[in-house]
């Protein structure tokens, strides 16, 4: 059995920042990542980030991942990185089981764990929603921005939150036409700056509209769209047809934290945080001692807040296992302040109402 001090599950923005602040505090860190490289979903974010300088505002996500890895390289004696390694279990005795590639299964015994496993894309219920050509917005981003492959010729985007707006813009950048962006809500959910940018390209944003049905035999050939009333019910007679070969679903994400549930951490369904999330204290420690969490796994937000949560949980976990990080109290206060600043807008208010329900 492999013994480690601090095990970090997930090498995305939260996990990398947790590793940075823990390693900086002299803790020995081991990052487990199921993909072949670190960076999580940052590797497909070609847009410039918001927030403040501390969260790399106005730098593209694809470059932030490189910045974090360079920083981590300064602590390489304290950081072990296991890629292509999937955590498959977390047990009552603290043992974590992992699978490297397809055939190397072994156990790890850490003093503390930070679960930073992120989130996954939700889907939407409508007839024929399983046809090929109906893809998550993140999937389309991966296909385009990581592999340089177009998802199709003409796309209908469902969801006018930030991801829907940003991915629509990126589709047009890649030379793919966006027929329209829909949102069932009466208002655009994403930032106005993103919405204006895409509107200037001539892409209509239809609020109070949803997909009624996808049409196609082997893959998407058409989408039927209709207007909805204030109770989100389809209004008869408002159907429109769009000739599209891709329907991109951008209706939000839901936290991925089954490992915490398996370990026995108490979780709660919190709509504002987009699903079941672990109860935690202000140090991001769950109801089980020495099991921490950070990022989207603890409630869906933005990569900016995931990074700050990572720094905070890494600092607190290092302190918990016996290290004395320099300026601990000051740094903790600073991270909490950064999170409060990021959550100061109307969306933040919603997130804070969710967090209130899980902090113990």
């Amino acid at each position: 059995m492999k013994e480690v001090e601090l095990l970090i599950i997930g090498g995305g923005p939260a996990g990398l920042c947790a590793a940075l602040s823990a390693a900086e505090s002299s803790a020995k860190v081991c990052i487990v990542e199921r993909n072949k490289s670190l960076g999580g979903q940052l590797i497909k974010q070609t847009h410039m980030f918001f927030g403040s300088e501390k969260q790399y505002a106005s730098i593209r996500g694809i470059d932030i991942s490189g910045i974090l890895l360079d920083k981590l390289n300064h602590y390489k004696d304290n950081v072990e990185i296991l890629t292509e390694t999937t955590v498959v279990g977390m047990y009552e005795d603290g043992v974590v089981t992992v699978l490297h590639k397809e055939d190397n299964y072994y156990k790890i015994k850490p003093k503390a764990v930070i679960v930073a496993t992120g989130a996954f894309e939700k889907t939407l219920a409508f007839p024929n929603n399983d046809l090929p050509g109906i893809y998550g917005a993140g999937a389309v981003q991966t296909l385009m921005n990581v592999h340089g492959v177009k998802p199709g010729d003409r796309v209908l985007m469902v969801g006018a939150g930030n991801i829907g707006l940003i991915v629509s813009y990126q589709l047009q950048q890649a030379g793919v036409q966006v027929a329209a962006i829909l949102d069932a809500a009466p208002k655009i959910g994403g930032y106005l700056v993103h919405a204006s940018k895409i509107r200037r390209m001539g892409v209509p944003i239809l609020t109070s509209h949803t997909v009624k049905e996808a049409i196609g035999k082997e893959f998407v050939e058409k989408a039927i769209v209709c207007q909805v009333d204030e109770k989100f019910q389809a209004i008869e007679g408002t159907e429109m047809e769009f000739d599209v070969d891709v329907i991109c679903i951008s209706v939000g994400l839901t936290p991925l934290n089954e490992l915490l549930a398996m370990r026995g951490c108490q979780t709660k369904y919190v709509p504002q945080l987009s699903g079941f999330v672990p109860l935690r204290n202000e140090n991001y420690e769950t109801t089980i001692e020495n099991v921490f969490t950070a990022g989207d796994a603890t409630g869906v937000e933005e990569a900016s807040s995931a990074m700050v949560e990572g720094y905070l949980s890494g600092l607190c976990a290092a302190s918990k296992i016996g290290y004395t990080p320099g300026n601990f109290e000051e740094r903790k206060k600073d991270y909490i302040k950064q999170l409060n600043d990021l959550r100061s807008g109307p969306v933040g208010k919603h997130i804070l109402a969710g967090i209130e329900q899980i902090v113990i």
Partner: protein, 101 residues
């Protein structure tokens, strides 16, 4: 279906490799996933649903949803959206649940 020009990104597609899909020879590039190479060649249908045999494509492209599972080199249930394409790979649409050899 490949992006030829991009204002921000530069795709390094240097090493071309060939593989087969249901017996047909296709080409892709080193460093991309099986699902990406198939999609670039216009293949959207990666499998059939278990009971209704409806066509299946990928959905999440990051290895979560299991909608992209295929038989690769005789091994069933390979998540093609996160598995790298390799020279000479034999990729097939899977019938049923797949059996561990």
């Amino acid at each position: 279906m490949r992006i030829e020009e991009h204002p921000i990104l530069d795709f390094h597609k240097d090493n071309k490799i060939s593989f087969t899909f249901n017996g047909e020879t296709l080409e892709g590039y080193e460093g991309e996933t099986i699902a990406a190479a198939l999609h670039a060649s216009g293949v959207k249908i990666l499998g059939k649903s278990l009971f209704m045999h409806r066509p299946r494509g990928f959905y999440c492209a990051i290895g979560n949803c299991s909608s992209c599972m295929m038989t690769v080199n005789g091994v069933a249930n390979v998540k093609t959206c996160v598995t790298d394409l390799k020279e000479g790979m034999v990729v097939e649409i899977q019938e049923g649940k797949g059996v561990i050899a």
